[in-house]
Point group: C4
Chain length 226, copies 4
């Protein structure tokens, strides 16, 4: 359902993915086989160790970039869901010093600092995909304790405590990029204060607000009868 | 129906709301329980005093920000419908001195002055939601006799004499923000004159024009058979 | 069908209209009663003299702005179809000297000169609607032999030899405004030459090209079985 | 299916086309009769020599601009599919020196150089359509060994080794134009390096990635059951 939601809301398209830490085996995660998020169903979900190895005898091809997720699950016990996406409005922010810091309350969930990881720094010219645990760890180090990290010329990674929340964070990154860009063309951007970001994000990430958003997203994505 | 219309037209999403003064008890208002506007039905409507207290023994959770509405109904006997929303194109205008004054006739309904309320001025760092009568009154004072007030880093509030009209005003705020932003990039914005705003808004807010717009909105929102 | 097409393509919404010269009585025109173009059906069409008087004993309310059309039909025997609309991307061009001259071949149908009519010039402060023959004539004089005229702070009027063509011209005005605006932000706009506009518009307005476009529009607007 | 995909994704509209080299007769190509891509079906496909002559006794009208394709098939034995389209975001880049070089990995498929062909250079004022083999050859010479060429005031042509790939290249041109334009308004554009373009495009144009994208596109275009 998170895959369908993020597809419907224009965050992921034929590429990009969302995944979740295994609810019983904390050192594993669940992620679809390599397939467009818009198309997949329950049967497409595979199980991986944190090192990206398939659990069991599964012949299906996984996403090359799954190593992003394993590396973050290792480093961040507070994180239970991760997305990697290329929502177009964030691309301009991946290659310069313009801050994506939240400028309106709904975006507070992306938190105060949004660092940028550049594959050139440690790996030089690559095919731009994070397809090794080494690259996953490198990105995870730049992400640190933040909720969103940008990838130069590529996209971003978003993390949260659960699937509902990581959807809100993923949309928040896109929904903040657009008005920041627009505001820069007509005046100064006034970001939220540290206190506002702390308080607004706590409120938006509580169970009641997340349930309300989820209820809205699944209806839009066509799960109206659920 | 107003909730569905404003959702369909992209004014409100999982957050934001529209409500109406009680047609019989002028000191009460009707507002949905805390639920996404796109999803709600007639049974979700709750009744409140102007101080935001639930009428009767209703166990459902109301919107935290309902106090916006009660405070305005107290101060503005001419107002019978209020929306609070975060339509994205208005966000850049909530944090600077750029005027949202109408630049084309369809936006005349947002009226001559569009003041900005900043939660920092009286309340300092907050979670950005107007969840007390005190904040509601503070906003209502800034709104004054105008039809739209912006909320810094947050969104706006729109008021009108009835539900049809408040939908037109809500869309007018968004529909004016976009061309003002675009015009600033290629030249000078020429706002409508006071006389034009008075005459055009009177014409657009008459019953016949509102009925025509409503007829259009409900067809688009899927109420075609009504 | 032209009403439905222009609604579906985002040219007209609850306001704006399209009409056609009467095929048998050249001094009359056909225009819907005052209703949203998206909703209307064959039975909504009314008949008017060029002075905007209803033919026969028709109790329905006509559009206030019908006088735009009558005045143009009087002055331009080559014109058999007219639209009046407020497609948002053209609004920024109604209030400054930035030229809307075509910059790509599909927009050549809007022709070389796009004059602007300002209601202030002859009428001072108004409610911005062209609701008299006097205003219609004033606009028609500014339009002259061109295909599109802008209305300051309001929208535009488009004319052509038939309904198919006036739809293409109406979309051309919007479709040219967007890239002109975008190009101004990254460099110089190079408009088409006079020769290119003449030849490209002649090609696009021939029967075969118009039939191909019409075939596309009606399928999109939901008339797939026709 | 490629026609439907490109229509649904907003690359082609009532004009623009996609075609493929004949799989058995390498000196022929398959292209629809002159009809909107969104509407056509299998029966609309016609067969042409590389000089644009119809194979057999086919009474239907072909696209005037088919000569683009024949000229490229002659010059580029590695190319098996070609599109010609006017996706709006690329129009501003057809008339200035602003580089469309890829700035994010998904756009790497449009390759390092994106030359511009101007009909004025060899043909002076025209109706802007490439309706002769002479114009086709002129464009093909400017395209050279690249994957995309822009046409001044008109649109672009995209080539690839197969239909899946030419869809990805066609969308890549549009999807790169948008963030390049946006980035120029807030800072410097950092294009991908030569090595990154080589490696990322090779990865995206392999069979597995193309199948995943195709699977997504056909579901969106309404071929969900296939």
């Amino acid at each position: 359902m998170a895959n369908r939601i993020l597809s419907h809301e224009g965050i992921i398209d034929s590429f990009g993915h969302v995944n979740v830490r295994h609810p019983l085996h904390k050192d594993r995660y669940l992620l679809s086989r390599s397939r467009s998020p818009a198309n997949l169903t329950r049967g497409d979900i595979m199980e991986f160790t944190q090192d990206g190895e398939k659990i069991g005898d599964d012949p299906r091809s996984p996403y090359k970039e799954r190593h992003i997720h394993g590396a973050i699950y290792k480093d961040r016990p507070d994180v239970n869901a991760v997305t990697h996406h290329h929502a177009r409005p964030i691309i301009p922010f991946t290659m310069n010093k313009v801050s994506l810091r939240p400028m309106f309350h709904m975006a507070a969930v992306i938190r105060k600092e949004i660092p940028t990881w550049d594959s050139q720094d440690e790996f030089g010219d690559t095919h731009m995909l994070l397809d090794s645990m080494e690259m996953g760890h490198s990105l995870s180090k730049v992400l640190g304790q933040n909720s969103v990290a940008l990838l130069r010329g590529h996209g971003c990674v978003c993390v949260a405590q659960n699937l509902n929340a990581v959807c809100l964070v993923s949309m928040g990154a896109r929904d903040n990029a657009e008005p920041v860009h627009q505001t820069m063309q007509i005046g100064e951007v006034t970001a939220l204060t540290d206190g506002e970001i702390d308080m607004a994000s706590e409120l938006l990430l509580n169970d009641m607000a997340l349930a309300r958003a989820w209820d809205y997203w699944i209806a839009r994505a066509g799960f109206a009868g659920l």
